[in-house]
Subunit: 120 residues, 2 copies
């Protein structure tokens, strides 16, 4: 299985921007894809994670694991986001021990969702 790191590319992060101005979400996506993705992590752009007031936002998901959504991120958080994604990918259930989470993952969680029940 592969971990997916969804990155909202349309996010304005609460800023009032000119129509053609670079969006904070797109800038975060560009920074993440320019870095080396951790093993087992696929970075996928998505238009709107519906966390507009708390953006820029990303989501970590993988079948069978808890899903996490993080917000108030910028391109400067790229190394921490990728480190957190690597720890998530290496975990069995998506629950990374607290001390092993980057600080932004401890403090900027917007939501988490239990694994899907696929046998129902």
């Amino acid at each position: 299985m592969t971990t997916t790191l969804h990155v909202c590319t349309t996010c304005r992060a609460g800023e009032v921007l000119e129509e053609d101005a670079p969006r904070p979400g797109a800038q975060l996506h560009a920074a993440l894809t320019q870095a080396d993705a951790p093993k087992g992590v696929k970075i996928v752009a998505v238009e709107c994670l519906s966390a507009c007031s708390q953006g820029a936002a990303v989501a970590l998901s993988e079948p069978g694991k808890w899903t996490y959504v993080y917000g108030r991120l910028t391109a400067a958080d790229t190394p921490d986001i990728l480190a957190g994604a690597a720890a998530y990918a290496a975990s069995g259930d998506g629950l990374v021990p607290w001390r092993e989470r980057p600080v932004i993952f401890r403090k900027q969680s917007l939501a988490r969702i239990p694994p899907m029940e696929t046998n129902s």
Copy 2:
């Protein structure tokens, strides 16, 4: 497939509560389970959806569909939450047309996450 409506039962909804005081999340869960669940919707209690500052919170998920997380909910929102869950369950991909969403689902989305890629 069954839609799961996860309800955070530990949520204090930002309130300072006595240790044994009823939690807003537990009150919301009780109200939801006392009502009739819509067809195809299973209500599941969960300890912490990590949306603590925006609680009480619920999440709607189903394999193959977008996942949605909603916040700032109370037991008074029970009819609207169940109506929104029914519309979600009836949808093919979790994307319910805007006008058919309860107002709380239009205005109190905390996040949405694309369907999992299960074939990767």
